[in-house]
């Protein structure tokens, strides 16, 4: 096996794994901060219990996000040293800023929040969680600014055999980065909304702490609905930008092979075993043009045409990504997006006084729906990163030229197997702790003076 392929597998696995935890951190932090602010305002201990309940789940998830994020930062140098040399002048800056501006903020104040229940005033304590929520979302911004450059490079010149930054403003206002950011933080809110809806429903079905879980259910239904609509909206505009900056990626995600005007939209298609061609294709006439131009006309370039153009521009080679993968991940993501919008709308509609009696069937769906945003998030990232191939940075450096030349397949196999084993074990433990704590429900009524109920854990599990 060659070192490019192994490094790609390792990068894919560690990135996808990292992104299991990130969206929930982004969204749930905001929820906990909102709930705590409500508690500061109304003084109702029920809200405080909710803050502690969701806060504890937030912390379990947060820890995993932090440690798997470390891997991401080291990996560019470890596996992709030639990439790091080529774009370090641009790519390193947002990563360093992420540390200085965002990661310090969230990591410092999360510690104060965990341990500060007795040391700080109520207002101050709530402010700590807001700082954490702001920090995590700012983190996302800098990382996405870096990734935005990989997709759609701006603000650079090629000099001394590498990409050098000439306009920092252009890099952080890169349209792709801004769409990415809007799309990702709203996805975070959707993920947290379904997480809260699912576990609230679980407890409501068992008639446990009904009044408290109704509060979080309603809050998540309302925020979740708007967030899901926003995810769909930002996703759409991101798609329009994709067509301009990365026409090949856009064409691949639609399995659009021939340039057409007006262009047909593929509803469902079958692919050859190598995933690079369609065998059959069900299309809606003119619909693809409508998606891009809001009218039933307009040219959309196809894969074949683009391949010819790229060969003329960059020399011979295969510039077509794995079409089947981009096509299906795109469709899975979009379908789940609409499904989730529908679910939140219905639950919002039912969440009046008579709920949950009237919408009982919905409560049974919600715990399963926790998985939907996770599937959609993962599909979205696979789409983003594979549709860019064979490029590491669109038009500038190929993935195969980006790898560290000193590595041997054995070395990468060691780390790849190591990560798979460790990540596998940790996933089991994380899910176990998350589900166990989520199912346990709110801490005892008198928990208001306790710093998160570790004591209760000990009592119930019979430990020391």
């Amino acid at each position: 096996m060659d070192i490019v392929l192994l490094s790609r597998w390792q990068f894919a696995l560690t990135t996808i794994y990292h992104f299991f935890f990130v969206p929930l951190t982004l969204g749930l932090g905001i929820y906990v901060a909102i709930l705590e602010s409500m508690y500061v305002k109304n003084g109702n201990p029920e809200y405080k219990r909710l803050v502690k309940f969701w806060g504890k789940l937030f912390l379990i998830n947060f820890a995993m996000g932090v440690v798997t994020g470390l891997v991401m930062e080291f990996q560019f140098g470890m596996n992709w040293s030639e990439y790091s040399r080529f774009v370090g002048d641009i790519f390193g800056a947002p990563l360093a800023m992420e540390g200085l501006i965002a990661f310090f903020l969230e990591s410092t104040f999360i510690g104060v929040w965990i341990f500060g229940w007795e040391r700080l005033s109520k207002k101050m304590h709530a402010a700590m969680m807001w700082l954490v929520a702001i920090g995590t979302n700012l983190s996302a911004f800098f990382i996405l600014a870096a990734n935005g450059f990989m997709q759609s490079p701006v603000g650079y010149v090629i000099n001394n055999g590498r990409a050098e930054m000439v306009d920092f403003g252009a890099i952080i206002t890169n349209p792709r980065a801004l769409y990415f950011f809007a799309h990702t933080i709203t996805s975070g809110l959707v993920t947290a909304s379904f997480f809260i809806l699912g576990f609230s429903a679980y407890h409501l079905l068992r008639k446990k702490d009904e009044s408290a879980f109704k509060i979080s259910l309603k809050l998540a239904a309302v925020i979740g609905f708007f967030a899901t609509v926003a995810v769909i909206g930002t996703g759409h505009f991101q798609g329009m930008e994709l067509k301009i900056a990365q026409p090949m990626a856009a064409a691949a995600s639609e399995a659009h092979f021939e340039t057409q005007d007006p262009a047909d939209f593929s509803l469902i298609a079958g692919f050859t075993p190598d995933g690079k061609n369609v065998t059959w294709n069900v299309t809606i006439p003119k619909a693809l043009s409508f998606l891009y131009y809001f009218k039933f006309e307009g040219e959309v370039e196809g894969i074949n045409n683009l391949q010819t153009q790229y060969e003329a521009k960059y020399g011979p080679g295969d510039y077509v990504p794995l079409v089947a993968l981009t096509y299906w991940t795109f469709r899975i993501m979009v379908a789940l997006g609409f499904l989730m919008a529908l679910i939140t709308l219905v639950i919002w509609f039912y969440s009046g006084k008579k709920f949950p009696r009237k919408g009982n069937w919905l409560l049974k769906i919600l715990p399963i729906a926790i998985f939907f945003p996770y599937l959609a998030n993962t599909a979205g990232w696979i789409l983003t990163e594979t549709a860019r191939q064979p490029w590491a940075v669109t038009g500038l450096i190929l993935t195969k030229d980006a790898v560290s030349p000193n590595l041997t397949p054995t070395t990468i196999l060691i780390s790849l197997i190591g990560f798979v084993l460790v990540y596998g074990v940790l996933m089991v433990i994380d899910l176990y702790l998350l589900i166990k704590n989520a199912k346990k429900g709110l801490a005892a009524g008198d928990s208001t003076s306790e710093p998160l109920d570790v004591v209760a854990v000990e009592k119930t599990s019979g430990g020391k």
């Binding site: 994020g69 140098g77 999360i110």
Partner: protein
């Protein structure tokens, strides 16, 4: 002074910050099973660093990010060259990070003992590897004319780097024990103080061997002559002073002194290194320097503005967290989180 020099200093400051801060919480991590006899005691030990360890670790993330941003070739050569070393460091940091959060979530003694051991082992491993990495950077590793590392994983494990790793471990142990005697109460405070004194002996011996060896054997230090010896001497002096303060039960002073020992040790490596950032044992011509490894002047300028604004802000709010949690930690489950 040009920006390349400024960034060399800034990267050095970030690593000093990291070693100073995570130094004591690696030390505390290693001491968990050694000093904590009962579960409550171990929890108290972990809780002394509870509010801080996560923020401390970000110093490494930022130092890594700053290296990437300011000296991309340094970042590329070091991280790809020391591949398996960094892989092990990542595993150690992963286990440590989740261990703090996971250990108290389940009451079973087996569960908790397992995580406590993992905290100790991973703290040891991370400290050791960091010592190995930085010793090799200064001592030199095979790097070719394209700035590509040509050694293997085992090139990194040589007698000097292993002593370097051990020196970091023992200094962190003393630093951590000093921190604990500053943060714990009653019997545990005594125990920590005693542990600090016991481990101080091995720290002095190993650190002395390490510093003498590296100062007199490595090209980087030899070239600097007397200038290169100032920081190692100060490291030795502060380490001796820390023992004096331990004897006087001045815990804050003893802790500050081991902190200074760490500061001067890291500083001595960077002084020796300057103006290189990685030494090539293949040929001095292939050394990575603050010029041939750096970013463009424009990027350095942007990063300088960000750093000048943000570093003081970060330092200020991190100091504030230590003020908020200045009280000593009692081994009382009612007040513990982790």
């Amino acid at each position: 002074m040009d920006l390349n020099i400024l960034w060399f200093i800034l990267v050095c400051v970030l690593y000093i910050g990291y070693f100073f801060l995570e130094g004591f919480d690696f030390g505390v991590g290693m001491l968990v099973p050694l000093l904590g006899k009962k579960d409550e005691e171990r929890r108290a030990i972990i809780n002394t660093i509870g509010p801080h360890w996560d923020g401390n670790e970000v110093w490494l993330v930022t130092a890594g990010g700053a290296t990437f941003a300011a000296f991309p070739n340094w970042y590329a050569t070091m991280f790809s060259g020391f591949y398996l070393g960094f892989f092990l460091l990542l595993l150690a940091l992963i286990f440590r990070g989740v261990a703090f959060e996971f250990r108290s979530k389940i009451g079973s003694p087996v569960w908790r003992n397992t995580w406590d051991k993992l905290i100790a082992i991973s703290s040891f491993l991370a400290a050791f590897l960091l010592g190995v990495v930085f010793t090799n950077v200064v001592n030199g590793v095979p790097i070719d004319g394209n700035q590509i590392y040509t050694g293997t994983f085992f090139t990194l494990l040589n007698p000097l780097s292993i002593i370097g790793g051990l020196a970091v471990v023992v200094i962190f142990l003393v630093h951590g024990a000093n921190f604990l005697s500053l943060k714990l109460t009653d019997g545990m405070r005594e125990r920590a103080n005693k542990a600090a004194k016991v481990m101080w002996v091995s720290a002095l011996i190993i650190a002395a061997i390490y510093l003498i060896w590296i100062v007199f054997s490595t090209q980087a230090f030899v070239e600097k002559g007397f200038v290169g010896m100032i920081a190692p001497l100060l490291a030795a002096v502060t380490l001796v002073l820390s023992r004096v303060f331990m004897g006087m039960k001045k815990e804050g002073w003893a802790f500050s002194m081991t902190g200074l020992t760490i500061l001067f040790t890291v500083a001595s490596l960077f002084v020796a290194l300057f103006p290189n950032v990685m030494i090539s044992s293949t040929s001095p011509e292939f050394n990575l320097t603050i010029y041939n490894a750096s970013s463009s002047p424009y990027t350095l300028k942007v990063m300088t503005i960000v750093a000048i604004v943000m570093v003081p802000v970060v330092v200020a709010y991190q100091i504030w967290t230590y003020i908020v949690f200045k009280k000593r930690v009692k081994a009382d489950p009612e007040t513990l989180h982790y």
